[in-house]
């Protein structure tokens, strides 16, 4: 059984792995002790924490973030195999995957990935990244951001920034009750401001160009 904290440098900063087989309280205590051994080294660091398969609540993640904040460390992202932990991290506005690393989104697999179900408004400051489809029951407010390699359905008003579909995914689409954003791309193509905003829409690609129809 591994009981030591692993730490390594990555493009996004530092990646810490808390041993999966430790209870969370014990893991967090060990992690803090590890950081306290070299406080000056970690101060100001941008940290990603791999939490393994643990299912953590929002309050657990808040405690982790506060423990790091007290040490002058910024928690940037958490990695986890637990959907509950991933969802709660996203609610706190934390990234849940590494950027610009080998974990690039796989175009062929995106459509087959499980959909991310968000039964509430996505508010300012929240960034959601998911490789499969994303379904929001609520609005996407200004200041919020959704990035998906697949499609996006918003049962509400879309007013935040959305990057939908990776560049090879010609099947990706956006459905929303009101398309009211000026910051949207579909398969890497910026969507024009001429798209109607007053009725439900489905936006898709036709011959590599954005097209739309009433969503009924």
């Amino acid at each position: 059984m591994s009981t030591s904290i692993e730490m390594k440098g990555i493009r996004d900063g530092l990646l810490a792995t808390i041993p999966n087989d430790l209870p969370w309280e014990e893991g967090l205590r060990l992690f803090c002790e590890h950081l306290d051994r070299q406080p000056q080294f970690f101060k100001g660091a941008r940290l990603t924490v791999d939490l393994g398969t643990r299912s953590l609540r929002v309050n657990d993640l808040v405690r982790l973030r506060e423990a790091l904040s007290e040490r002058g460390i910024s928690l940037w992202a958490v990695l986890s195999e637990s959907p509950a932990t991933m969802k709660n991290a996203q609610l706190l506005g934390l990234a849940t995957r590494l950027s610009k690393t080998s974990r690039a989104l796989a175009p062929g697999s995106a459509a087959r990935e499980m959909a991310l179900w968000i039964p509430r408004t996505v508010r300012s400051g929240v960034k959601i990244e998911h490789s499969g489809p994303v379904v929001v029951i609520g609005d996407v407010n200004p200041g919020a951001e959704i990035v998906t390699a697949s499609s996006l359905v918003v049962w509400g008003r879309l007013r935040g920034r959305v990057l939908v579909g990776d560049p090879q995914n010609a099947e990706a689409f956006i459905c929303t009750l009101r398309f009211q954003t000026t910051q949207a791309t579909l398969a890497g193509i910026p969507l024009p401001s001429s798209i109607p905003t007053e009725f439900p829409l489905k936006i898709f690609l036709e011959n590599h160009l954005p097209a739309w129809e009433k969503w009924e």
Binding site: V58, E66, L91, L92, T121, S124, N141
Partner: protein, 265 residues
Amino acid sequence: MSAQVVTITSGKGGVGKTTAVANIATALAAVGQKVVCIDADIGLRNLDVVMGLENRIVYDLVDIVEGRCRLRQAMIRDRHFQDLYLIPAAQTRDKTAVSPGDMVDLCNELRPEFDWILIDSPAGIERGFRNAIAPADRILLVTNPEVSAVRDADRVIGILEAEEKGSPWLIINRLKPSLVRQNEMLSPEDVLDLLAVPLLGIVPEDEAILIATNRGTPVVLDEKSRAGRAFRNIALRLMGKEVKDEDWDTPESFWSRFWPLKGRK
């Protein structure tokens, strides 16, 4: 008696949180409620100034938490109402001097003696904000009808929802109906459309606020002030009373009516 803990927060600074705390607390005390205000803005305290109590501070919140004084010693009685108290923030420390757990313990000690504990949250979403919301039963969110303030308010709502604190009640402060008519300011409907939380009240822009703040006398004590009237209505709604929304477009003279303040010394 078990007090309800109400935290007043905003996200963006300068939208009128401290003014709201002082006025709601005074309005509650004016109708006979026992109220204590806690200034949680450690390092940047202001509530003492707005309540006109800055010269009476001996001990502060950090002194209580660090055991240098008893709770009662740090509580300053208001100049106008005998059942209204302030626990001031420390001015020479930072937010890490107090933890969320300390705030919960402090409020639990105060609860049996009061009807209301009002906490003035610092701006931002960092440690001071987390200290302020930790003991809250109810959170009031103050925003101005400006895009930047509303954006920050939306961020705060997201954090409160994520931390399972429930939907805050909204106070729209410094509304200027003339600018709304000219499409130069967000209307209350615009703000509510975006934030989608319950509205507790609207406070119109009123220069009486500035005058009252500089005098250290909450504007609810000015019977002619429109903002004072709005804060009194907000306090009553907080107590669960039904108070009709005002039409802030009505000429000012219309509001110059007497409002009986009970419980004044």
